[in-house]
Symmetry: none
Subunit: 232 residues, 4 copies
C-alpha cells in the first residue's frame, strides 16, 4: 500500500539491509545458527520476505555475517604483519580470533567445520589460514613458536580454545584467557620432542560434489563426513 509517500526505494533497501545484517549478527551470535529467520526478521523490524529479498536463503545470510567477521579478522591479522614483535603479533592475532569465537555462537558452529557449503566462506577461511601462516612463520623465525607449528594449527587452536572455555563463559566471561595462555605455552615451548602427527597441510573444506564426487553419485545418504566406530 505505498504508504508514506513514494518512498525512496533505494535508500530504504540499503537501510533495511543494514538493519537485517545487524539483527542477524546479533541473533546468530547469541543463539547460534539454529535461530529462525522469523526471529531475525522480527528483531530487524522487517518482514520475513524482506530477508529473502536480500539473501536468497538462510545460508546466504549466515554467510554474509560470517564473511564480515572473517574479514575483520583477516584485516586484523594483516595489520599485525607489520608489527615488530612477531611473537606478540601472533598472540594478538590469536586473542582477536578467540574473542570473535567467544562472542559469536554461530561463528563457532560455522568456522572450522568441514561442513561448509559456502564457497566464499571457504575462501575467507582459506585466507585466514594464510594470514595465520604468515604471522606464524614470522614468529617461528623469531623463535617465538616451536618448529613445525603452522598457521592452520593456529586457526584450529583458537577454535578449540573457545570450545574448551565454553562451559565456563556464562559464569566467567574471561575464562578463555586461561586456555589461550595454555595453548600459547604449548606452541611456544620447544620440548625437543617432535609432535606425534605431521602438521596439517591444508584445511579440508567440504564440497558437495567438486572434484572427487561424481555428479552421478552425490552420496545420497549424505552427511558431513564424520565418525567411524565399527559396530561393536
Amino acid at each position: 500500500m505505498a504508504g508514506t509517500s513514494a518512498a525512496s526505494s533505494r535508500s530504504d533497501a540499503v537501510r533495511n539491509r543494514r538493519l537485517l545484517l545487524d539483527a542477524a549478527a546479533a541473533m546468530f551470535a547469541e543463539h547460534g545458527v539454529e535461530v529462525s529467520i522469523g526471529e531475525i526478521a522480527q528483531r530487524a523490524g522487517v518482514g520475513k520476505g524482506t530477508v529473502f529479498r536480500h539473501f536468497s536463503s538462510k545460508d546466504e545470510l549466515l554467510a554474509a555475517i560470517m564473511l564480515g567477521l572473517l574479514g575483520e579478522l583477516n584485516d586484523t591479522g594483516g595489520a599485525l604483519l607489520a608489527a615488530d614483535d612477531a611473537g606478540l603479533a601472533l598472540r594478538r592475532f590469536m586473542t582477536a580470533c578467540v574473542e570473535t569465537f567467544v562472542r559469536d555462537r554461530a561463528f563457532c558452529e560455522t568456522v572450522g567445520r568441514p561442513s561448509l557449503q559456502h564457497a566464499q566462506v571457504r575462501e575467507a577461511i582459506h585466507r585466514l589460514c594464510e594470514v595465520a601462516e604468515a604471522l606464524t612463520a614470522r614468529a617461528r623465525q623469531e623463535g617465538a613458536v616451536r618448529p613445525g607449528i603452522t598457521g592452520i594449527d593456529v586457526v584450529l587452536l583458537v577454535s578449540g580454545i573457545q570450545h574448551t572455555a565454553e562451559p565456563l563463559l556464562a559464569a566467567e566471561p574471561e575464562a578463555w584467557r586461561r586456555y589461550l595462555e595454555l595453548a600459547i605455552d604449548g606452541i611456544t615451548t620447544d620440548t625437543g620432542r617432535a609432535l606425534p602427527h605431521p602438521p596439517p597441510r591444508h584445511l579440508p573444506l567440504a564440497e558437495t560434489g567438486a572434484t572427487a564426487a561424481s555428479p552421478g553419485a552425490p552420496d545420497p545418504g549424505g552427511d558431513p563426513p564424520r565418525a567411524r566406530r565399527p559396530a561393536p
Copy 2:
C-alpha cells in the same frame, strides 16, 4: 532408573535393545544429537514405537548412550589411579577421553555443554571431573603438571582438543594426537608465569532450578546461557 529400567529378560527384547543401543550409538556418533528417532529405528531394523518402549524419550536414549561412554571413561580413569607413573596415567586418561570424543559427535555435543538437562548425565560428568582431579592431583604432586592445573581444566581441554582437530579428522583420523600433545605440553611446562585466569572451581551444569540456581538469577526468559554482544 527411568526408562532404562532393569533387565527385560526376554531374549528377543534383549536382542532388540542391543540392536537399538548399537544403532543409536552409531547414529549419534556419526550424525550428532540431531539425528531423528525414525532414522535410528530404521537403522536398528525396528519400528519407531519400539524405541519408545525401551526409552521413554529421545533424551533418555541419548542419556543411556552417553552414560555408557562416560562410565567407560570413569572406569578407565579409576583404573589409572593405581598406576605408578602419575604423569603417564594422566596422559593415558586424556588420550582415552579424546578418543571417545573423536569417535562420537553426540558425545561432543552433550558433554561439557551447560545445557545438560539430564541429571544422571550431569552426575556422571561430575564424577568424570572428580576422577580427572584425582589423576591431576597425583601428577601435580609428582611435578608432572604445572601448578594450578585442575581436573576440570583437563576435562575441558580434552573436549577442546577434539574440537581443534575436528576439521582434519575425516582426512587424518589421528590428527588429534598432535593437539593432545600440544595441550599436554601446555599443562606440563611450568613457565613460571601464572595463568591469566584462576582455575575453574566447578563445571556449571545447567539446572532447571534445582539445587544451585541462585534465586537472584532466575533467567526467566530462559535460554542456554551463552552469548554476550550487546545490540550494536
Copy 3:
C-alpha cells in the same frame, strides 16, 4: 518357562479375569474411557496380552464393566418394584442411579450416549428404561409424578443430574443430592401446563449398520450423529 509348577490353568484364568475386571472397573471409574489398556493391565498386575485374551477389544472390556453396573441398577430397580410407596421407590431408584453415575466416570461417558456400539450394553440400557418405566408408571398412578413423565425421562434425568453436579463433586461429593432433589421436584409438581415436547418413546441407540444403513454405505466419514449448526 512354566514357572511355579504346572499351574492350574483354569483357576488362574478365572482369578485373572476377576483381577482384570476389578482393575478395569476402578480405572474406568476414576479416569474414564480414555484410560489406556496398559494402565489397566498394570493395575491388575497382569500383562497387556492377558487383557486381550479375556476381552477381544478394549470396547468389550468396557462393555463388561458397564454391563455389571447396569445389571446392578436393574436389580435394584426390580427389587424396588415390590416397595409399597411407589414415589419413594422411584426416588430410591433415581438415587441409586445417580450414585452410580457419580462414582464412575466411564459410566457417564458411555451410558445415555447415542454412540453405543455394543449390542449387549444397548440391551441393558433398554432394560433399564423398562425398569424405570415400571417404577415411573406406579408412581404416576399414585400421583407421585406428574402426567406424561416416562421411564426414559427418568433415565435421561439421572444422567443429566450427574452432569449438572460434576464440577462441584471434587469439592463437595454430595452436591448431586441438591440437583436430584430439584429434578424430582420438577417431575413431581404438576404445574397444570403440559411439557413443551412429547415424551420420548424410546432411547435411540446408534447402530453402525443395523436396519437402515445399507452395508454397502457404511458411513465412511463415520461419526456419532450429532450437531447441526448451519454456517453462520
Copy 4:
C-alpha cells in the same frame, strides 16, 4: 490477547481467519474437542501450518471459539437484565444457554468442566455465572424462583439439561425444551422443603496452582479431580 492477536488487516488473511474460525467452530461443534487440527484445516481449505499462524496452539483455537460463544451468552444475559419480567428474562437466558450447549459438542466438553486450563475461558465462565446470578437474583426477588437458587445453579443446570436431552437430539432436535421446562419448574416451585445440599458458592475451575489452590491440597500426582471409589 495471546494468539488471537489484533487485526490481520490483509484481506486474504482475514478471509482465511474467518474460514478457519468457521471451520473450527463447525468441527468442534460436531465432533467435540478431540477433532484433529488436520481435519479442521482440511475443512477450512487451508494447510495445517495456517492454523498455527492464526492460533498458537490447538487450545488457543478452541479457546477463541469458546470465548466467542461465551461472549454471546454474556451479552444476551446482560441485555436481559433490562427486561421487565425477571422470571421470563431468566427463562430466556437459560433457553439461550441450552441452545448453545445443544448446538456445540465442544462447548459441552469445555464449559463447566473442572479441567479448564485457559485463563480467559475460566474468566468468561466466571462472568457467565455473575450474569446468571444477577438474573437469578432479580427473579428471586420477584418470587419467580424458589429461595436458595443461585446463578451457579442455573449455569450448572443448563449444562445438565443438554446432557439429559443429548441422546434424543439426533432424532428430535427440540427435545431439550422438555427438560428445560422440567428444570425451570424445579427451580420455580417452592416446595417449602429446603434443598438437601447448600447452594454452591463458586464454580471450582482447575488452576495449575494460581490463586485459589489451597496449599494443603497441591494434588501432586496430578489428574483431573474426579472419581471416588476406593480400590476394591
